[in-house]
């Protein structure tokens, strides 16, 4: 079961622009789609500075305001499942898993 909450945060366009290059946009998009959210329409983004503010606000919303409070993340390499409880992912591993 998966639960998503929205927690409002102050929008800062400069921060989003500075943060964007660190991001794998494709992974963000597919992660959102796996949560049933198709709000990101662009397939790729070449130049963040050329994007309209609406797009920056959309990124702000999905990056900073959208909280998966309940759910799980599956590791793409080893298929290990990490549970998310009350918005806190549990990344603890057993001694044999490190």
């Amino acid at each position: 079961m998966c639960r998503i909450e929205i927690r409002e945060q102050e929008f800062n366009a400069d921060f989003i622009r500075a943060f964007f290059p660190k991001l794998d946009y494709g992974v963000l998009k597919s992660t959102l789609e796996s949560l049933g959210d198709d709000s990101l329409k662009l397939d790729s983004v070449e130049d963040i500075d050329g994007q309209p503010e609406d797009f920056l606000r959309l990124l702000h919303k999905v990056l900073l305001e959208m909280d998966v409070t309940q759910g799980e993340m599956t590791c793409g390499n080893c298929q290990h499942k990490y549970q998310i409880n009350e918005g806190i992912p549990n990344m603890l591993l057993g001694a044999d898993e490190i």
């Binding site: 800062n12 400069d14 794998d24 806190i88 603890l92």
Partner: protein, 278 residues
């Protein structure tokens, strides 16, 4: 008094009762806040324009994260104690939280953070809490993954309570192997109570040489104990440019001007002076 990290593993020591006592102790609150401000200063938190995305290593119940909120940064905190994290949740901070053991590495995408702080945590990593856990390999895994998690040119600042000079050397050796440069800043080295250790690490630098920040001293002389420390003989800094209160009020003013909602009200407690000694 024996050191908490000698008593039990962190997730056992910081159980519900200890986590509650720790967080509600006003003296602890003051000291942690003061050290967090200092860590931000050492991080080179200077432009005050674009907020940073910071990692709070061993964030606990968010006493340090609260200051990051106040300073307008975005942050992710990680901690091994569920009890500490559940208090952090109740305290309704802006940052995100993650339950993880830093000795198993920092599990984030490479280059994610503009910097990292860690307040009163690092000494915990020097204690093997189970027979299988070797402090050396845990420190190595931690520093390697932290180096990767930071963007090039950013810094990590650790306030910590080393047991001995040997322990400092032990820790710094692994940081260096992971590729960090930097060193130790000892504030108030002559005061038994006010003396504080800050390990300042630089994750790759852009061309220019890094200079170790100056320590604070009672008399105002600059002293550095860093591997890269050059004696710069800059004018001694006995005080921060302006009072913490001015600084906070200035930031709040800017935030209000930008139309930010929910900027904390000014009060007589805003940025109050905390004594250096006790």
């Amino acid at each position: 008094m024996s050191r908490p990290e000698h008593i039990a593993p962190p997730e056992i020591f910081y159980n519900d009762s200890e986590a509650g006592k720790y967080t509600s102790n006003t003296r602890v609150q003051q000291i942690q806040a003061e050290m967090t401000y200092r860590a931000l200063e050492l991080l080179g938190d200077n432009d005050g324009q674009t907020p940073k995305f910071l990692l709070d290593i061993g964030c606990g119940s968010g006493l340090s994260g609260e200051i990051l909120d106040e300073e307008g940064h975005y942050w992710l905190g990680c901690d091994i104690s569920p009890s500490m994290l559940s208090i952090a949740l109740e305290r309704d901070l802006e940052g995100d939280l993650m339950l993880s053991d830093i000795g198993s590495g920092v599990h984030v995408r490479a280059g994610s953070f503009d910097g990292a702080i860690s307040i009163s945590v690092l000494q915990w990593l020097c204690n093997a809490d189970s027979t299988s856990a070797n402090p050396g390999s845990r420190l190595m895994r931690f520093f390697n993954s932290l180096y990767a998690a930071l963007s090039r040119g950013s810094r990590a600042v650790f306030q910590f309570y080393p047991e001995s000079d040997d322990q400092v050397g032990f820790i710094m050796g692994f940081a260096q192997k992971a590729g960090f440069s930097g060193g130790l800043v000892v504030d108030y080295p002559n005061s038994r109570k006010a003396k504080k250790f800050y390990l300042c690490l630089f994750a790759g630098v852009s061309g220019k040489e890094v200079q170790m920040p100056a320590a604070k001293t009672e008399t105002g002389t600059v002293s550095n104990v860093g591997r890269q420390s050059q004696s710069t003989h800059r004018p001694p800094r006995t005080n921060i440019k302006h009072s913490a209160k001015d600084h906070i009020n200035h930031k709040k003013h800017l935030q209000r001007q930008k139309g930010k909602q929910g900027v904390p009200l000014d009060s007589k407690y805003t940025g109050r002076k905390r004594r250096d000694g006790f």
